[in-house]
């Protein structure tokens, strides 16, 4: 789980490309981006396709807007050379757009007059930017603007926004963690390679979606099928033979770590160390629901997670295989002697775990982009959730994961958001001190 920092840094260039309102971000930083409505600008195209249209001269350009107030006209912008000579002074037009022709490449200082901003919008950063313009280049300049509609006065509103983001994140963790917990319950294996099931799902969906051009929803379904296949394969090809050999639990645990390392770095070799978005649903604006805002894809993520989790619960509660899973989880020998085919149940658990992890991976990739180590970073939060709920209990994993997700998000009220995972991990340690068996776990399991 490296690189929360990296990830943020990697996202930053996105902020400069001028895709306004795309909440890259996701879950965690999403609210920040939405609130500090960054006024980004300067034709994204100018940056993506440098020098096609404006090859003849150097320019500075930008667009001033926030996603609530829209474009902001009549803001005064002054451009000076590095030596302090004024080049030009302009005002933004009705689209909030401004541009200044430059005498040549070099260093320029762009100043925004804060007094000319509308009353409800203020600058969140400095009012000057120093930029270096390369020959023949149209250089975008951005200023971060806060539209003051929320944030300043609304501690409660911010908490609610974080709560909703946390709920989305927690449900996502829960989807991935149900499989982890059921596998632990039925086989006793603490599967450190479960994070890689998440990554594999996300990456298979990415290849199908972006490389093969299949719509994301269909790609997700295919990835879930593939995830189930990977789960089945690891059970049939690795874990079942190992159980037959009588491999101990600790040995199995270390083997799962070996598998995790092997898969994680293989994925990095094949997929690369980049983070890539899916081909659709990326540039969505946050919809305002009064107390909080949510992009449609975040809303879809919450709904999908809830529906899937309810289906899983119904399956565990009502169907024959679900009851068999709980029985094996509860007491394997007793289940076997009551005529339950334990190996078959375990196979189904692996397939279900793989499919759910793949779905969780796609949802995570949708909000955070697809990365080679996304699953491993999530794994530690899954462990925190599963431990909090009670290792080996399916419903415990649900409850625990949601609490961890919410806790991690809401903790950013008091701690910086680049260390919020640390808060989640601290929570894990505190739980173990207070109630090691977790919320729904039984005392007997903890040793």
């Amino acid at each position: 789980m490296t690189h929360a920092g990296n990830r943020l840094r990697r996202r930053d260039p996105g902020a400069l490309t001028g895709i306004v309102g795309r909440s890259r971000s996701g879950p965690r930083r999403g609210y920040l981006v939405r609130m500090l409505l960054v006024a980004v600008f300067g034709l994204g195209l100018a940056m993506l396709v440098p020098g096609i249209a404006q090859a003849e001269g150097e320019q500075l350009a930008g667009t001033l807007q926030t996603s609530r107030s829209g474009p902001i006209p009549d803001v005064d912008i002054t451009v000076e050379t590095g030596d302090g000579d004024e080049v030009d002074s302009v005002s933004s037009d009705d689209q909030g757009h401004w541009e200044v022709d430059l005498p040549g490449p070099g260093q320029y200082v762009v100043t925004l007059d804060p007094d000319s901003l509308p009353d409800d919008v203020r600058l969140t950063g400095a009012d000057t930017r120093t930029v270096t313009v390369d020959p023949g280049r149209r250089q975008p300049v951005n200023f971060s603007l806060d539209d003051g509609s929320r944030g300043a006065g609304g501690g409660n509103v911010k908490a609610i926004q974080l709560l909703v983001d946390g709920l989305r994140f927690g449900l996502l963790i829960a989807i991935c963690a149900v499989g982890l917990s059921l596998i632990f319950g039925t086989t006793g294996l603490t599967n450190f390679a479960h994070g890689e099931l998440v990554t594999i799902g996300a990456i298979i969906a990415w290849y199908i979606n972006v490389q093969a051009g299949v719509p994301l929803i269909l790609a997700t379904v295919l990835a879930m099928v593939a995830g189930a296949a990977v789960g089945a394969l690891s059970e049939l090809g690795l874990w079942r033979p190992l159980r037959r050999r009588g491999t101990g639990l600790v040995a199995a645990l270390v083997i799962s770590i070996g598998l995790s390392l092997l898969l994680r770095y293989l994925i990095q070799i094949i997929y690369g160390g980049f983070s890539n978005p899916y081909g659709a649903y990326q540039s969505q604006r946050a919809v305002d629901y009064g107390l909080f805002t949510l992009t449609n894809r975040a809303l879809a993520s919450i709904v999908i997670s809830l529906v899937v989790l309810v289906l899983v619960a119904l399956m565990l509660q009502r169907t024959r295989i679900g009851k068999a899973m709980r029985a094996v989880s509860d007491n394997r020998d007793l289940a076997a002697s009551s005529g339950i085919n334990v190996n078959q149940v375990i196979l189904v658990v692996w397939m279900m775990g793989g499919a759910l992890a793949a779905l969780g991976g796609v949802l995570l990739g949708l909000s955070d982009q697809v990365q080679w180590d996304m699953g491993f970073r999530l794994l530690l939060l899954m462990f925190a959730g599963v431990t909090l709920g009670g290792l080996g209990t399916a419903y415990g994993a649900l409850v625990g994961s949601v609490i961890v997700g919410v806790f991690v998000q809401v903790s950013t009220l008091v701690i910086p958001s680049d260390v919020k995972y640390v808060g989640g991990l601290l929570l894990l340690i505190v739980i173990l001190v207070i109630r090691p068996q977790g919320i729904l776990g039984s005392r007997a399991r903890i040793g």
């Binding site: 789980m1 490296t2 690189h3 929360a4 920092g5 990296n6 603490t190 450190f192 190992l242 050999r245 491999t247 101990g248 639990l249 600790v250 040995a251 645990l253 270390v254 083997i255 770590i257 070996g258 598998l259 995790s260 390392l261 092997l262 898969l263 994680r264 770095y265 293989l266 990095q268 070799i269 530690l380 462990f383 925190a384 431990t387 290792l391 701690i415 910086p416 680049d418 260390v419 995972y421 640390v422 991990l425 601290l426 894990l428 340690i429 173990l432 001190v433 090691p436 399991r445 903890i446 040793g447």
Partner: protein, 332 residues
Amino acid sequence: MGELLNAIAIAGKSALGFQAVFYALLAIGLNMHFGYTGLLNFGQIAFAMLGGFGIAVSVTNWGLPFWLGVVIGVAASVVLSLLLGLPTLRLRADYLAIVTIAAAEGLRLLFRSVSATPITNGTQGISAFNGGFVRLSPWDTNRRFRLLGTTWGGGELWVTAVGWLLVAIFCLLVWLLVRSPWGRVVKAIREDEDAVRALGKNVYAYKMQSLVLGGVIGAFGGMVYAVATGSANPDQYQNANTFLAYAVLILGGAARVLGPVVGAIVLLFILQFTDTGLRLLIDNGIIPEGLLSSTDVAQLRFVLVGIGLMLLLVFRPQGIFGDRREVMLDAR
């Protein structure tokens, strides 16, 4: 042929250099935890990070002498093992595993975060803190020395020599400890905790002592690494290194005093040899660039470690030297 010899020489340097010392010390600590006491510490790299940063931060930020930095590094690792051990040592083995891996990752994130930048210099890391130690070198630090076909700087030679001395000291310490009454209790805990408790021993305290001791040895590993590379960067302390140390331990043989040392030398030789060898094959066009590029080779090391760990535990959990009966494979 010359290239092959060269690859062997480079691999040999790595197998005898500070990298091997680093993993050997990590693995000696893990041997105390996992091999003798049966504790699953998956966050050994966190102890190493505290050791390395203990020196780096003390010397550069606080202006303290080098030796006080060593003391601070050791003290920090003791505090960490107490923090980790207090909640988990009463629980089943895999709880310690989960908490230690979480703590290692959490600490690394904390060290590289923006809020910690004033102390740890964030992702930039700290450098130039090892001058005081390197100056003590008996070899001329400006000269290059040729050894077995590879060149070593005087400072490098000095740090490596001290590193191997530390390895020898800790091996001796472990050897003396496990032959003592303390060692017998600890090994008994690995075999059957309840039986030891029934004999009236304070199992919790013994486990804690073992955790602290192994953690301190790991911290020294981190110090050697930080001093040898001359920099301390949180991203050097990726958790995959913990598992590389596990591979070292299991390859050499857990619950054997010299297991980690042999494991470190053999494993690092293999890893460095494949690394150099593959790069050679790619440069010469024998492996097509499309199949494997030279930037991927660095990742391949962990793929190999992963495969190695799996194969070892499936087919030969006792490693080269170990005794299968002494390797803890089954938790309660």
